[in-house]
Amino acid sequence: MSRVAREKPGPLEYHRRWPLQLIVGATFFFLYFPLIILMVFSFNDSRRNIVWQGFTFDYYEKVFKNAELIEAFGNSLTIAFFCTIISVILGALTAVMLWRFRFPGKTAVEGAMALPIVVPEICMGVAMLVFFAKIMPWPSGMPWPLNLGAIIIAHVSFAFPFVATVVRARLASFNRELEEAAKDLGASEWRTFWDVLVPHMQPGLIAGALLAFTLSLDDFVITFFTAGPDTITFPVKVYSMLRFSVTPEVNAASTILIVVTVALTAIGLHLQNQSENKKLKP
């Protein structure tokens, strides 16, 4: 085998063969070219957004002076924050329930928990629209952050089953004897849960929180149906700006959101790696 010349790819080194390299390169170009163009042109000194005229921060200044846009951005972050907290708690409880107990109707509960993941967004969106219009009208004019309650509830409903899936995968590697040992040594149910099970779930909880946060921040369709006129989120605001006119302001606002999400995800992944590495050390 060592007789194969170094320059020649080995039989299974598919990533070193040019047809595949070409396809991978073209795919990444397809995925990134539009996004890079979008970010570059947020610095373009031209209203028309077509030909490069020179570098400017003007549109960022405009974004920060656009009170509606800033409010929408704040709303989005607030919703994502509350959605993450509630989803992580509910998701962790779901995971522990399905992992730990045998109970009648378990298959049905498992199926129902998978529903929010598979039901088309549009169906969930209209269901939330009707629910908050007819069954549980959300009072308008509530103080912040209660005015965002309806959107937060809708977001939690689709985010927490995702968290549950992630946490449950993590729980599969838990040694149940540890729990029994803790109880034998006199720890209460609550103590065992908090001191034995939760530390083990931690990487799953972080990953789940990250997922819930991005899902909430990203969501347009369900928010579009749930949001009232005075509770605009960032994606909904960008959508209406897009419909109205495409100015570099939209590019600048989008660039900010991309940077925020990528940075948050990077921090989350870093934390997750750290907590996993800590576990490996004796």
């Binding site: 990444f28 042109f41 730990r100 347009f220 989008s254």
Partner: protein
């Protein structure tokens, strides 16, 4: 070993109650209301009578709406096929890369995932529109060809007419592929990564070419991954709202756009509810079909 709920009733109640109540109240009840409305009738501007009529479903089966359903299935199907054709080689390359490179390539595939769907669609519009970069690129080649013709003494080509790349069905499909490609690559990658490579080596040693090895050995081995990738791509593509709304023209509406119109503009909630449930049944049908297909090879 799992505990039965009887052994720790208190703990079970404390753990199970919050998520179950939430799911019931804020997910199943809203869906149930929609389901009930799909058998209702508009009797006033805001009042809906639940009369148990099937008229909404009958209306959804009219050729106009049946056509839109069919079109949605075809658009989602073509999207899935394109994602598979592009995603398979990419997943193959990632699975066989060195561990360090693998991590980077996976990160690069997942990064657009974390970017807002709306922003990605907007980015695509800027590239595809008449004064976008795809047209600029073609124009450059066009002018090059034109001056080349002049050099050899032929009449130059006329002025470049920008292609209309947006607001048609092709734009919707390109947009859907753009958005859903990571959904396909990730399950394919995890199937290919777990595959027993000695089988590929055996096939290559015994004289099969690479293409033959991939078609006859790798594809059957990766079949479960392919099936789940197809499902994970097809379902969201089928119900997509934003991409046809922003990239499509008047004739490229998908079923989600029709549903939105019933609820926001036409104000015909019962009919919109019936369409929503038909879309949901279609989704469940796709999931059930996938489960059936996946069960078969396991029995061999």
């Amino acid at each position: 070993m799992e505990q039965t709920w009887r052994q720790a009733r208190g703990a079970f109640a404390a753990i199970a109650a919050p998520p179950l109540v939430w799911l019931l109240l804020f997910f199943l009840v809203p869906l149930g209301v929609i389901w009930a409305y799909s058998f209702g009738e508009n009797v006033g501007p805001i009042t809906i009578d639940l009369t148990g009529t099937f008229a909404n479903y009958m209306r959804a089966l009219e050729p106009l709406y049946l056509g839109i359903f069919g079109k949605s299935v075809i658009v989602a199907g073509v999207t899935t096929l394109l994602c598979l054709l592009v995603g398979f080689p990419v997943a193959l390359a990632i699975a066989f890369a060195s561990p360090r490179m693998k991590a980077w390539l996976l990160l690069l595939i997942m990064l657009p995932f974390w970017t807002n769907l709306l922003i990605r669609t907007f980015a695509l519009i800027a590239v595809l529109r008449e004064q976008g970069y795809v047209n600029f690129g073609i124009e450059w080649f066009w002018n090059l060809a034109s001056s080349a013709r002049e050099l050899v003494g032929m009449a130059p080509l006329g002025d470049y007419e920008p292609l209309t790349l947006l607001y048609n069905n092709a734009a919707v499909i390109v947009g859907l592929v753009y958005v859903h490609l990571p959904f396909m690559v990730l399950p394919l990658y995890s199937a290919l990564d777990r595959m027993d490579r000695s089988l590929m080596e055996a096939s290559l040693d015994l004289g099969a070419g690479h293409l033959r090895t991939i078609l006859l050995v790798v594809v059957p081995l990766a079949a479960p991954g392919i099936a789940s990738g197809v499902l994970i791509t097809f379902i969201p593509a089928l119900g997509s709202y934003l991409t046809p709304d922003l990239l499509g023209g008047t004739d490229s509406q998908m079923i989600a756009n029709v549903i939105e119109r019933q609820f926001k503009k036409a104000n015909d909630w019962p009919f919109g509810a019936a369409l929503s449930f038909l879309l949901m049944y279609l989704t469940f049908f796709a999931i059930a079909a996938q489960a059936l297909i996946q069960r078969k090879p396991g029995r061999r």
